[in-house]
């Protein structure tokens, strides 16, 4: 356990350093753009990790909430001509409020019903983005200003997004070990047991849903100030499914999982660009194979190899595994 943590923290420091140095290695705005997108997805997916990995509820509305954040920002910053920072704050707060309202509905169900209910919310949001007058229909909203003055160096936004991402990960790391986090993971592994030891189920579940929506909102803000433009396409049901896949393929409930999953989510399609037509076929097949052969995701696979190497007390590490997973 101790060595894993140490090695894990070393690894993360190395990754952070690498990420910070990337603009020095490549001045290509294409690759910088891919990394910015990755960081944004990491924020969104860490949010999903809270509700999915900790609380154990399969939310399929994360992509839609990501869109809500982006749209509120775009509308405030262009149509209402607000200051970019206040637009961002309103978007994040608005997302939280919407999630709070949705939480009244979604937590009346659980299991597959919860997934299907959040999926239909995603569908509704998508239809609204397409059809409302204020969201600009299929064309969306363009001409959103940047977060920083255009005279500033281009790397500013890169480092800003990187910093927000690190804060998001740090928050989830803190949450894991907090009272709320233990409560949520308790709900995830056995909600009746959690209730019997005094975890207020409804309040905690709502808190986790709202937190995940706030992360989606932050992601939406970062996204719209990066592209300067919103349209319904990136926030449809497929986006919510992509979030789910990223978290699960990476390893849900772990800190590193959503990071790895998001990297795959952005870079795999970019690399498969030459095989554009086959991209989704390969993607679908890969998802099935990954879930069938490494159900705990990439992080689970890493742990499996580590355990096989170390072996001394398999039973004990096994128990530890479960408590770590949830």
């Amino acid at each position: 356990m101790k060595t894993i943590l140490n090695r894990g923290s070393l690894l993360s420091i190395a990754l952070v350093l690498l990420a910070a140095l990337i603009p020095l290695f490549t001045t290509s705005s294409y690759y910088q753009g891919l990394f910015i997108l990755t960081f944004i997805w990491i924020v969104v997916n860490q949010g999903l990790n809270i509700i999915l990995g900790f609380t154990g509820y399969t939310s399929l509305v994360q992509g839609g909430l990501f869109g809500v954040g982006a749209y509120i920002t775009a509308i405030c910053a262009t149509t209402f001509g607000m200051n970019v920072w206040s637009a961002a704050l309103i978007a994040i707060a608005g997302n939280g409020l919407i999630a709070l309202t949705l939480a009244l509905i979604v937590f009346r169900t659980s299991g597959h019903f919860f997934a299907i209910l959040t999926l239909s919310m995603s569908l509704i949001l998508d239809e609204l983005f397409h059809n409302l007058a204020i969201t600009g229909g299929n064309l969306g909203i363009s001409g959103v200003p940047g977060l920083f003055p255009s005279s500033w160096p281009r790397e500013t936004y890169y480092y800003f997004v990187l910093a927000v991402m690190l804060l998001a990960i740090a928050f989830v790391a803190w949450l894991r070990k907090s009272r709320l986090g233990y409560g949520l993971r308790g709900i995830g592994s056995n909600d009746r047991l959690a209730a019997s030891v005094g975890v207020p189920l409804y309040v905690y579940k709502t808190a986790s849903f709202v937190l995940s929506a706030l992360f989606a909102g932050v992601g939406g803000v970062l996204y719209v100030y990066f592209t300067g433009f919103v349209s319904p396409a990136p926030f449809n049901v497929a986006a919510s499914m992509a979030c789910l896949l990223a978290v699960v393929i990476g390893g849900s409930g772990t800190l590193l999982g959503p990071v790895l999953g998001s990297i795959l989510l952005v870079f795999l399609p970019a690399w498969l660009q030459n095989f554009q037509d086959y991209q989704l076929t390969i993607y679908g097949l890969a998802v099935i194979l990954i879930i069938r052969f490494m159900p705990k995701g990439l992080v689970g696979l890493g742990r499996y190899f580590k355990r096989n190497k170390a072996v001394p007390k398999p039973a004990k590490t096994g128990g530890e595994e479960i408590s770590l997973q949830r």
Binding site: I105, H112, A115, L117, L123, N131, V248, G284, V287
Partner: protein, 288 residues
């Protein structure tokens, strides 16, 4: 008044499509506990099989439909044996994701093979039939009758036959059913094969009524699941009523408000229902 009746009749047509889908879905979910999200795509695939036989190869319609159903059945059994293998031993989330992956895979593979264009299956049943004040094409009437007869047949099989009893036993308690000498493998294969056959029929009829596009399965599956969620799982009568509600509600929204909001309206209605009846309108047992 006549317009209202016509809208109700149109609603009935949609309800029939959703009913057939919901029937397949609820069998798969009820017996094997698999949320078969790829089912809409399987239906569209069946439709494409029909399209190939009827439009491209020019086989007689009945033979084509039978062939398409046979291939779909085989494909369904294959799905149960490969991606969904031992699904009951996996965590629910993983089965869910497998079905999403399968849906992506099937949709895109169909797109690769058939292209993104729309095709209509030439079912040659476009004649108008006048029923009192309501006009329906022959095909629409056939769809409604097919839905009714398949539903009745399924209900009879489930309630009266030995096979139906075995299926219900597996749904109720897998281990006990196994101990009674019921072949779980056989039942699973039957359920998947049967559902896929019904799916193929849906695909062909849908392709004849409207048109086939590779991604059409997504819309179909959402409404199929919407009907199940509205009804509460595992209640045949409730599912029928839910399909009627959804189809008619949708056609009224299209007729009197806007076709843009027909999907939103249906899902908002379902969410409202779930707020007051979280287990669905017709759920029998009240779980915690």
């Amino acid at each position: 008044m006549n317009e209202l009746l016509q809208q109700l009749a149109n609603g009935l047509v949609m309800s029939s499509l959703y009913l057939l889908l919901a029937l397949g879905l609820s069998l798969v979910f009820g017996v094997l506990h698999i949320p078969h999200f790829a089912f809409g795509s399987v239906a569209v695939l069946g439709g494409y099989f029909g399209l190939v036989f009827i439009n491209r190869m020019g086989f007689p319609i009945w033979i084509s439909i039978l062939l398409a159903i046979a291939i779909s059945t085989a494909a369904g059994i294959l799905l149960e044996r490969l991606p969904y293998k031992n699904a009951n031993e996996l965590p629910p989330l993983n089965i869910f994701i497998i079905s999403l992956g399968l849906m992506t895979f099937l949709n895109n593979t169909m797109q690769l093979i058939f292209g993104p264009d729309q095709f209509q299956v030439k079912l040659d049943a476009g004649g108008m039939i006048k029923l009192g004040p309501v006009m329906l094409t022959e095909l629409r009437l056939i769809l409604i009758l097919t839905a009714i007869s398949i539903t009745v047949a399924t209900a009879v099989i489930l309630k009266k036959s030995k096979l139906g009893t075995a299926i219900r036993a597996v749904a109720e308690n897998r281990e006990a059913a196994l101990l009674m000498g019921i072949s779980i493998k056989g039942i699973s294969a039957f359920v998947f094969g049967f559902a896929s056959a019904v799916g193929a029929l849906v695909g062909i009829l849908y392709g004849g009524l409207y048109s086939l596009v590779p991604t059409r399965g997504n819309d179909l599956i959402f409404f199929g699941f919407a009907a199940l969620v509205l009804a509460g799982m595992g209640n045949l009568m409730g599912t029928i009523i839910s399909c009627l509600i959804i189809g008619i509600f949708q056609s009224l929204t299209i007729g009197y408000i806007s076709s843009h909001y027909s999907t939103v309206a249906v899902f908002v209605m379902i969410i409202l229902v779930l707020v007051f009846k979280p287990m669905g309108l017709f759920a029998k047992e009240v779980r915690r």
